[in-house]
């Protein structure tokens, strides 16, 4: 490439000068950030900013070698990476000012950018598997596009980075990892946080490394070119360490470094040296840039401040129908059937997970032989819940439809950062420019003797995150339907967690109802199922997922042994919860028993109870939930702690007393 031609008349001591166009770009980034700091002190910016003053050349160097289809995932210090690629001063100013004219309409701000294939997120480490997922999508689709990700040396402390390096190397992903080594994690020196050698960490995974620095931009641009070319052609990851200096504070007013050290950094900073040694060259460029920035600020401030809350989705009118489906196959086979149909119908569907390939076919044998039928698209992964969830986030951002199996629901919390801070946020913070319709399938629940860490019902910990959907499968609505809908375009695309209760895998899936009752399903994409008796019920029982068989048994016993008619309300979608359509069903008797397998404190039953009470204060309600202690392996005790049909009957009688 000939983009960095030296200008002989402007030679500085010991250096070759980059092209004036590139100097202008780097200087533009610096003046932009200096302007931000000024606007902040004038109160025209809200929130914080992390400047890359001193590090501008990494972004400039990378942008020099990218094609429009290549993606860049950056971190909290992302302004330079973005501006080097787009030059969109006004859009970024407006974003930082929280205005509608911002690149993400003021929702993302400084750390959360999405525009022209540049993304950023302010979560250390979490962006790496996402960028790896984008790389996987690029690889699967063919072509020579690459995915790049910027991290700092502080990110070396995050475990997900290594999960991702492992996957990137193992699966040979076209991922360029650029580490900007400024030797500080916020205010903490690298001496306090880093053992061994940085480059060795990448090499341990069999990843090629390169090294450059920002003090010699021409050399850096050349090294960057070598790195990009390698990733593009070899379709292998590469780790490029760029030594650099952060001249300003981490954020603002949090710089406790030795002033002498900072002065030394400034001394070797390329733009400072240029300013000092070639003022006549720099001055007119600066003046032109300042004028450009003036205009950009004016343009940004001409758009209105972002001030529109998202409307709460209308639950809409509800119809109730009897939905039949091919009965009498076990739930585990219906899940398999749904996944298989989705794989057949849509070439973008991928299944990832631990131990899911044949012959093992998943810890609960859900995926069986799918890896043989769809060899490239059903893949075993390392035990890296966070990375594979992040990977699926990247795949989804790139338009694929990944479904991940998290072997036990108890491990879902390992992926919580990818769910809460990535998947759930992308569509909102990138102002609707992207969607992340990942599907996480996970078995939950006890009564199988798996003990304290493999038997829990942890859904309450992830319920209620805006932008997510949580489903709890049950055997009265066809699980195959659920997965076919989720992995198609017939339902709104959003991150979805599906809880598959272990106890249900072996149940026969069918619309069979307790004698004297019938199952109805609401018209929602993921319906509320309603076991109805014609006549006057004495109470309704709310339950979801694995509690349904017990609730059905209780309904049968209540009628046969206690002359009591109980109906069941069982939603498939437990977040967002469609409480409104349940109300008239509950009001038939005015009494509701809410059942959940997990611990009751801050649980779904408590939430629904509060929601219904707000709608109708005359309802009589009562909850059934797990005894508040951990689940033991010992069978008798486990069964005693968790709710069952007997408890439901007793509590129903108590409610009616």
């Amino acid at each position: 490439m000939s983009t960095f031609i030296a200008t002989p008349s402007k030679a500085m001591t010991g250096f070759t000068l980059p092209d004036e166009r590139l100097i202008r770009k780097a200087l533009g980034i610096r003046l932009f950030e200096q302007r931000i700091l000024r606007l902040f002190s004038e109160g025209r910016l809200f929130g914080t900013v992390h400047t890359c003053i001193g590090q501008e050349w990494t972004g400039v160097a990378l942008a020099e070698h990218l094609r429009p289809e290549d993606t860049v995932f950056s971190n909290h210090r992302c302004h330079g990476h973005y501006l080097a690629r787009t030059g969109n001063y006004a859009g970024l100013f407006a974003e930082l000012m929280g205005r509608e004219g911002g690149i993400c309409r003021g929702r993302g701000g400084s750390q959360h950018i999405c525009d022209s294939n540049v993304f950023s997120n302010g979560i250390q480490g979490g962006i790496v598997p996402v960028a790896a997922g984008i790389a996987l999508a690029k690889k699967l689709r063919g072509g020579s596009d690459i995915s790049c990700v910027f991290v700092g040396d502080g990110t070396l402390g995050e475990g997900v980075l290594y999960e991702s390096l492992n996957l990137a190397s193992l699966w040979s992903l076209p991922l360029l990892l650029v580490l900007e080594n400024n030797r500080y994690a916020q205010s903490t020196s690298q001496a306090q946080t880093l053992a061994g050698c940085i480059d060795d960490r990448a090499r341990a995974f069999g990843i090629r490394t390169l090294h450059g620095d920002t003090w010699d931009p021409v050399q850096l641009i050349a090294t960057m070119g070598e790195a990009v070319d390698f990733v593009r052609e070899a379709r292998r990851p590469l780790f490029l360490r760029v030594d650099t200096d952060r001249l300003m504070a981490h954020s603002k007013s949090d710089d406790d470094r030795d002033p002498e050290e900072i002065a030394a950094c400034r001394e070797r900073d390329f733009l400072h040296r240029l300013q000092r040694e070639e003022p006549g060259f720099v001055q007119p460029i600066s003046a032109g840039l300042e004028a450009e920035l003036d205009a950009a600020v004016r343009q940004a401030e001409s758009t209105p401040p972002t001030d529109l809350a998202e409307p709460v989705a209308d639950e809409g009118a509800v119809r109730w129908t009897l939905t039949g489906f091919e009965p009498h196959e076990r739930v585990v086979h219906r899940i398999y059937a749904g996944l298989r149909a989705a794989l057949e119908e849509n070439g973008d569907v991928l299944l990832l997970g631990e131990d899911i390939e044949a012959p093992y076919g998943g810890a609960f044998k859900v995926t069986r032989d799918l890896s043989r039928l769809f060899p490239e698209r059903v893949r075993n992964t390392p035990i890296s819940e966070q990375a594979i969830t992040g990977l699926s986030n990247g795949l989804a951002l790139a338009g694929m439809r990944p479904a991940v199996e998290i072997m036990f629901g108890d491990f879902l919390l390992l992926a919580a950062d990818q769910i809460v801070n990535h998947a759930a946020k992308f569509e909102f913070m990138y102002a609707g420019q992207v969607k992340a319709p990942i599907v996480l399938r996970t078995p939950m629940g006890g009564k199988r003797g798996y003990g304290p860490t493999h038997s829990q019902s942890l859904e309450k910990h992830i319920l209620g995150v805006p932008g997510t959907r949580i489903l709890a499968l049950h055997h009265r609505f066809d699980p195959a339907q659920v997965y076919q809908r989720l992995l198609s375009d017939v339902v709104p695309a959003m991150p979805t967690i599906v809880i598959e209760n272990k106890i249900l895998y072996g149940e026969k899936a069918s619309p069979d109802a307790v004698e004297g009752f019938r199952w109805f399903h609401s018209s929602h994409d993921f319906p509320v199922s309603y076991l109805r008796a014609e006549g006057r019920p004495d109470l309704a029982i709310f339950c979801y997922g694995g509690m349904l068989p017990d609730a059905e048994k209780a309904v049968d016993r209540l009628f046969a042994e206690h002359d009591i008619v109980a109906e069941i309300i069982c939603p498939l979608q437990i977040y967002p919860l469609q409480a409104q359509p349940m109300l008239p069903l509950v009001q038939r008797s005015g009494r509701l028993l809410l059942v959940e397998e997990g611990h009751g404190f801050c649980g779904l039953a408590a939430e629904l109870m509060a929601g219904l009470y707000e709608l109708d204060r005359s309802l009589a309600m009562r909850r059934v939930y797990s005894h508040p202690q951990h689940i033991p392996s010992a069978k008798p005790l486990e069964l005693r702690l968790l709710p069952d049909a007997g408890r439901i009957v007793d509590e129903a009688l108590e409610l009616l007393r």
Binding site: V318, R319, W320, L322, E515, G516, F517, R518, F520, R532, A533, E534, G535, R536, P537, D538, F559, A560, D563, I564, V565, Q580, P581, L583, P584, Q587, R588, S589, G590, R591, L615, D616, R617, S618, L619, A620
Partner: protein
């Protein structure tokens, strides 16, 4: 057979399924003239006189004190003296009831308040979706119900509309009257705060005195009001120099002025002229103020229909008529029905303040206390207390309402009093004459007159 004219009682209001036959004024078989007073019945709202529509001989169907289901025929007037004994019980009406017969009240049956308000729309509870007909279920009968059905020989077809049949369904079939309309414990049926549990046993000796139908009805009405509402009260104190006296001298009265002013304010505060139903505010289209009267003859709430459209004079006249009717026990059910807001004035008992209870199907009630005067001073005060349903209004609304009312009443006092008001100090109320005796005088300030004593006191 002698032609018979029935003495029919129409159902006057929705609360009454029975009335009490208080007194016969004409004996069984005695001669009665047309329009003569025949009987008195007690409804939950009032005692009602029953007059003969034609002349003839009376047949009594019930004894005095009997509880008569309404609508009903309490007796007949025959052209010939009857041969049957009295109190034969309900009379199977072979003859169409003569329209002229029966209660002298207007023939129209009192409209149920619930029917007067717009039907609630869009309520989730009101629109249960349609579900498949019962035929598609496989009917199931509980063991208990099965035994009962067999024991009573009931055909299963009696439960055709039920997919599950249990004891209660069989009982409902056997005793259709007792079958509840809605499910037990249904929304709004049981008032919060009204105990769901039976009261504890009484351990002290007592004498049981049956409450009159009227008192029972009053209690039921208040319980329904209290049960439906989340009550809260706000009180303001109004300073006065004798509003009641001034108004009476002006040939008006404090109650009339209150009704007049409140009726206008209710248009401004519609949430106080409303009632609560299952998450919905039913705002009344008319302002019908009920004025509670009780001088020992029993509490009656006389209604002033659409009084926001009546002048003060018209209200004063109507109040006088109703008061006379009350004293003479001649208030008709129509005069007592359909209030949308109640004013209760206990000033006659020297009560300084109290917290009234919201009536059934209403959203607020205003209690007016007696004027209290500072010793040796023309300056006094009285309280206005508004109990309101917090589901419809809030404390702020209530406070704004009361302050508006207070301002209006005070302006009455000022306007009405101005004609005769002597010049007084607005701070100490010494008159100009008193001040002259102590060698002081009044000064005119922006706020009115101030005496030189008060002025020096500053």
């Amino acid at each position: 057979m002698t032609p018979a004219t029935p003495i029919a009682l129409e159902r006057e209001n929705v609360n009454d399924e029975f009335v009490t036959l208080v007194k016969w004024f004409v004996g069984h078989g005695e001669r009665v003239e047309a329009d003569a007073l025949v009987a008195e019945v007690e409804t939950s709202k009032a005692n009602v006189e029953v007059h003969a529509s034609v002349a003839g001989y009376l047949v009594q169907a019930y004894p005095e004190g009997a509880e008569v289901p309404v609508p009903a025929t309490i007796g007949q007037i025959l052209e010939q003296p009857p041969t049957s004994p009295s109190f034969a019980g309900p009379i199977a009406s072979a003859v169409a009831p003569a329209p002229a017969a029966g209660v002298p009240a207007p023939a129209a049956v009192v409209r149920a308040p619930a029917a007067a308000v717009p039907a609630a729309s869009g309520r989730p509870a009101a629109s249960l979706p349609e579900f498949a007909p019962v035929g598609e279920y496989r009917q199931r009968v509980s063991p208990v119900a099965a035994r009962m059905i067999e024991a009573h020989g009931i055909p299963l077809s009696a439960f055709a509309n039920k997919s599950v049949v249990r004891k209660q369904d069989v009982l409902d079939h056997l005793n259709p009257q007792s079958a509840p309309v809605a499910s037990p414990g249904f929304a709004g049926r049981v008032a919060p705060g009204v105990a769901r549990h039976a009261p504890a046993d009484i351990t002290q000796p007592y004498q049981a005195i049956r409450l009159s139908r009227m008192k029972q009805s009053e209690g039921a009405n208040l319980a329904a009001g209290v049960g439906n509402a989340i009550s809260s009260s706000v009180t303001v104190t109004c300073f006065t120099r004798g509003l009641r006296k001034i108004l009476e001298e002006q040939d008006s009265s404090a109650p009339a002025v209150l009704i007049h002013e409140v009726s206008r304010l209710l248009r401004k505060y519609p949430s106080l002229n409303a009632t609560y139903r299952d998450g919905t505010m039913l705002q009344y289209e008319e302002v019908n103020i009920g004025f509670a009267m009780d001088d020992g003859r029993g509490l009656k709430v006389a209604a002033f229909p659409r009084c926001d459209e009546l002048s003060l004079t018209a209200i004063t006249v109507l109040l006088r008529e109703l008061t006379v009717a009350y004293i003479e026990d001649k208030l008709t059910p129509v005069q007592l029905a359909n209030a949308t807001f109640t004013i209760t004035d206990l000033s006659g008992f020297g009560v300084s303040g109290f917290q009234p209870l919201i009536s059934e199907n209403q959203g607020a009630i205003l209690g007016v206390g007696a004027e209290q005067f500072f010793p040796e001073s023309p300056q006094g005060f009285y309280t206005l207390t508004l109990t309101f349903d917090h589901q419809l209004s809030n404390g702020r609304t209530a406070a704004l309402f009361l302050n508006d009312l207070k301002d209006r009443l005070q302006s009455y006092e000022e306007t009405a009093g101005k004609a005769k008001a002597a010049l007084v100090c607005s701070s100490c109320y010494r008159t100009a004459a008193e001040l002259r005796q102590v060698h002081h005088r009044l000064l005119l300030s922006a706020d009115g007159y101030f005496c030189t004593i008060c002025a020096q006191g500053w």
